[in-house]
Symmetry: C2
Subunit: 451 residues, 2 copies
C-alpha cells in the first residue's frame, strides 16, 4: 500500500484472527491494538476519509474493559478485543447513524442492530461508523481510495473497504444490494465476503430493497471472512433469515478433499471489463489448467441486470421514497430518478422481475452439478479515476440478485498497479465451501507463481 | 342434513379417524367405505354437483389395493384406505386438473402436488376432484349447498365443502386466498381448518397470490382437522414453507391445562354480519362467561381488507393475467376487473400493502398475550340464497392476510335452520393449541346446553 514501515501500522495490519489470538494469549492488549488503529486513522484519515463517526476515547475505554475482562479470566469470544468498523447504515447504540444523507444527520438509534449485538457478544470493540454513499445508493461519500486518493474506493460500503485496506481496522461490516461489498473490496484490494441471502439478519440496518439487501464483511484474509459465521442465524425479526449456512470456520480452513472444479464465467457483460482484466482472466484460467473450464451462462442471464434494477427501483421507492417527499433538494438526482422510476413501475412487472430470481437460481443447477464455484471478475477493472462515481457494479449484479454467496479476493493487479479482485461464487448455503475453495485457489496460484 | 337413514350413508358419514381405525382393525374395508361414498355421490350428485372429476372404477381399484396391503400385514399410514376429495386447482397425477376455467379443461398434470404425495403416503385414496370457482376466485362453479340447493355452498372451495357436508367423502382439501375454506365450511356446516401461512407446501397447486395462498382441510370433526399435520413441512420447492407447526394430534386431542381465555372479536366489519348472527354471538359470549371477553381490534385493522385486496389484485394480475390475455371472452367479468385493477397498481403501493401484514400481525401481540384464541364469526350469516354469488368473505380476510391459523366449527344455526360457523383464530404456529381450544369450546358449550 506504499506506506512507510512503522510499528503501529504493522500491529494494525494484523488479521482479526491473529489479533484475537495474541490478545487471548496475553501477547497483545486490546488497548494496544485499538490505539494502533487510532494512530493509523489519525495519520491517514485526512487523505482517506473513511470514517463518518469515531469516538477515540470511547473506543479506548471499551478496549480497556475488554482487557480487564481477560485479566479476570472470564470467557473470551472469538473477536475479544478486536476493533471493527461499521458501515453508517447499520445502527450502533451510542453512535449516530447518518445513513449517508444530510436528512439523517445526527440520528441516534435506540438499539444495536442484530449484527452489532452479535459482534459485541463475540468480544469485538465497535470502533466507529464508516462512510457510506447516500442511503447506500450511488451518490458518493467523501472517502478516497487508499491506494490512490484520486480514485474512488467503490461504493456503497466505501469507508469500510478503505478502512480495512488502509490498516485502520482489521474487519469492517458492509452491505450489498447490487455490488456494494464486492466492488469496493476489489477496488481497495481487500477480501470482501457477502454470504448467502437470508443468512445474516438485517434488523437495525437501513432497508433499501429487502429482496436484495445483504450484509457483508471486509477483511484481510479469507480466514477472517469466515468470521461472518458470528453474524448468521435467525433473530426473530428479519423474517427472510432462515437456517444459517454456518459454522464456516472448520470447513473454510480445511483442505478440499478433492481438487475443486472451477467454472470460469465471463457473464454476458464481458465487454464491460477492461482489456487488462480480460487478459488477466485468460491467464488465470490458463494457470488453473484442468481445474478450471470456461463456462457460458444461460442466455437468460443477460436480462438479470434489468430484473435486479426493477426490483431495486420498486423496493427503494417503497422504502426510501419518503426522503424525496420530505426534502427533494437534499436528495441526489440519481436517487430521485431511481425513486421516480420505481414509483412508475407496475406491480405485476415488479412481481415478474422478482420471480426471475428463482428462475435464474434454478437455471444454475446444472453448472453447480459440475463445478464447485464460479470464478469471475469482481469489477470491470481497477478503481476508476475520480470521486464523482463509485464505479460499475455489473459483475456483482447477477449473484446479488440470485442471493448466492460471493467473495472477492485481491489476486490481480491492474496496469496502474492497483488491485483487481477475483470473485468466487457458490450455490446458496455453500458459504463454507466457497471459502475453502478460495483458499485452495490462492494457494494453488502462489505455487504456480513459485514454480 | 335431512337425508333418510341408510347404511351407506352412515358409513360415509364416519370421521376420517374413525374410518381409518376401523379399516386398520379389519372391521371395515377401504373398498366398502369407498363404495359407500360412491353410492352417496350417485344418490346426491345430481343435486349437489360437488365433483369436477370422478373415476369410480379407479377409486375402487385403489381401495382394493389398500385392502390387499393391509391383508399382507404391511405398515399402514394414518389415513390408510380413507378416501379424500381434492379441490380442482390441486394437481393429481392421472386426473385432469381444470382449475375451474374452460381454458384449462382437460389439463393433465405431470405429477402430484406435494400435499397429494403426502396424502398417498399416509394411505389415503384420492377419490376425485371437487368443484372450484373459476381459478379459485369469485365466479361460481356448479356446486349447490347440500342443506338447500337454492343456496350457494360458498367459494372458492365449493365442491370440497359440499362433498364433506353431503357425506360423499370424510375429508377434502381446499385452499384459501381470502375466505375460501372458512366461508364454505361455515355455509355447509362442516369443520374447516386453514393452518398457519407457510406450514403446508403449495407446490403443484394453482398460484393465485403467493403472499396469501394457503391450503386447508374440510372435515367432520376437529380431531380430523388435526390430520392437516400430515401435509405440513418443507418440500424444498415452496420457499415460503418454514418449519412445521405440527405435529398437531397429541396437543389437539388433549385437555387444556387451564381454562382457555377467549377474545370475542367483532372486527370493524361487524355491521356486515346479519342480525341473527350478531345475536347468536352475543349469546355465545354470554354462555362462555368469564372464559371470554369482548375485545376490540386496533383501528388499523379496518384497512386490512383493502390491503389484502391490493396484494391479491397485484399478485393475481401477475399470475393469472395470461388467461385474460389468451381468451378474455372466456374469463369472467369479475376476474377481468381484478386483473385490470392489479395491472394498474403501482409497485410501491403493492409493497406498502404487503408490508402491512407484518404490522397487523405484530399489533395483535398484546391481544394474544392475554388470550389464547380469537372467537369471531366465520361468515356474515347463513349461506345466501342464489348461486350467482359465493357470499361475503369479509370475516376471513384479516386472518388470511395475517396468515394466522383459523378454524370454522359449525356451532350456530341461522333463522332458516342453516349452519353458521364459529371461527377461532390463533397466533402463527399455534395450530395445535387452536384445535385444542376449539375442542374445549365445543365441550363447554354442550355442557352448557345440557345444564
Amino acid at each position: 500500500m506504499g506506506a512507510k514501515r512503522n510499528p503501529a501500522r504493522e500491529l494494525a495490519a494484523l488479521t482479526a484472527r491473529e489479533a484475537a489470538r495474541r490478545i487471548a494469549e496475553g501477547a497483545l492488549t486490546s488497548a494496544e491494538l485499538v490505539a494502533a488503529c487510532l494512530d493509523n486513522i489519525a495519520a491517514q484519515e485526512e487523505t482517506v476519509q473513511a470514517w463518518a463517526f469515531l469516538d477515540r476515547d470511547k473506543a479506548m475505554i471499551e478496549a480497556k474493559e475488554r482487557d480487564r475482562r481477560r485479566q479476570r479470566g472470564l470467557p473470551l469470544g472469538p473477536l475479544h478485543g478486536v476493533p471493527v468498523g461499521v458501515k453508517d447504515i447499520i445502527d450502533v447504540k451510542g453512535m449516530p447513524t447518518g445513513n449517508g444523507t444530510p436528512l439523517d444527520e445526527g440520528r441516534r438509534p435506540f438499539a444495536d442492530a442484530t449484527v452489532i449485538r452479535r459482534l459485541r457478544a463475540a468480544g469485538a470493540v465497535i470502533l466507529g461508523k464508516t462512510v457510506t454513499t447516500e442511503l447506500a445508493y450511488y451518490h458518493p461519500g467523501k472517502t478516497r481510495n487508499p491506494h490512490d486518493p484520486t480514485r474512488t474506493p467503490g461504493g456503497s460500503s466505501s469507508g469500510s473497504a478503505a478502512a480495512v485496506a488502509a490498516g485502520m481496522v482489521p474487519l469492517a461490516l458492509g452491505t450489498q444490494t447490487n455490488g456494494s461489498v464486492i466492488r469496493p473490496a476489489s477496488y481497495c484490494g481487500v477480501v470482501g465476503f457477502k454470504p448467502t441471502f437470508g443468512s445474516v439478519p438485517r434488523s437495525g440496518v437501513l432497508t433499501l430493497a429487502p429482496s436484495l439487501d445483504q450484509l457483508g464483511l471486509f477483511a484481510r484474509s479469507i480466514e477472517d471472512a469466515a468470521l461472518a459465521e458470528l453474524l448468521m442465524g435467525e433473530d426473530g425479526a428479519d423474517l427472510d433469515v432462515r437456517e444459517s449456512p454456518g459454522p464456516l470456520t472448520a470447513t473454510a480452513l480445511a483442505e478440499p478433499p478433492v481438487t475443486p472444479a472451477l467454472a470460469v464465467v465471463k457473464t454476458p457483460f464481458w465487454e464491460r471489463a477492461d482489456a487488462a482484466t480480460r487478459d488477466a482472466f485468460g491467464e488465470l484460467a490458463a494457470a488453473l489448467g484442468e481445474a478450471a473450464a470456461e463456462v457460458e451462462l444461460p442466455e437468460v442471464f443477460g436480462r438479470g441486470v434489468g430484473w435486479l434494477g426493477g426490483v431495486m427501483a420498486a423496493e427503494m421507492a417503497r422504502n426510501l421514497g419518503h426522503y424525496v417527499d420530505r426534502a427533494p433538494a437534499q436528495v441526489s438526482e440519481k436517487l430521485r430518478e431511481l425513486i421516480s422510476d420505481g414509483r412508475a413501475m407496475k406491480a405485476p412487472d415488479y412481481l415478474a422481475a422478482r420471480d426471475m430470481r428463482q428462475v435464474l437460481r434454478e437455471s444454475l443447477g446444472p453448472l453447480f452439478q459440475r463445478f464447485d464455484v464460479i470464478v469471475t471478475p469482481a469489477a470491470t477493472g481497477e478503481a476508476p479515476v475520480g470521486l464523482e462515481s463509485t464505479g460499475d457494479p455489473v459483475f456483482c449484479t447477477l449473484w446479488t440478485f440470485c442471493g448466492l454467496p460471493t467473495l472477492s479476493v485481491p489476486l490481480l493487479t491492474g496496469p496502474n498497479g492497483l488491485p483487481v479482485g477475483v470473485q468466487l461464487v457458490a450455490p446458496p448455503g455453500q458459504d463454507a465451501r466457497l471459502l475453502r475453495t478460495a483458499r485452495w485457489l490462492v494457494h494453488t496460484l502462489s505455487q504456480e507463481a513459485d514454480a
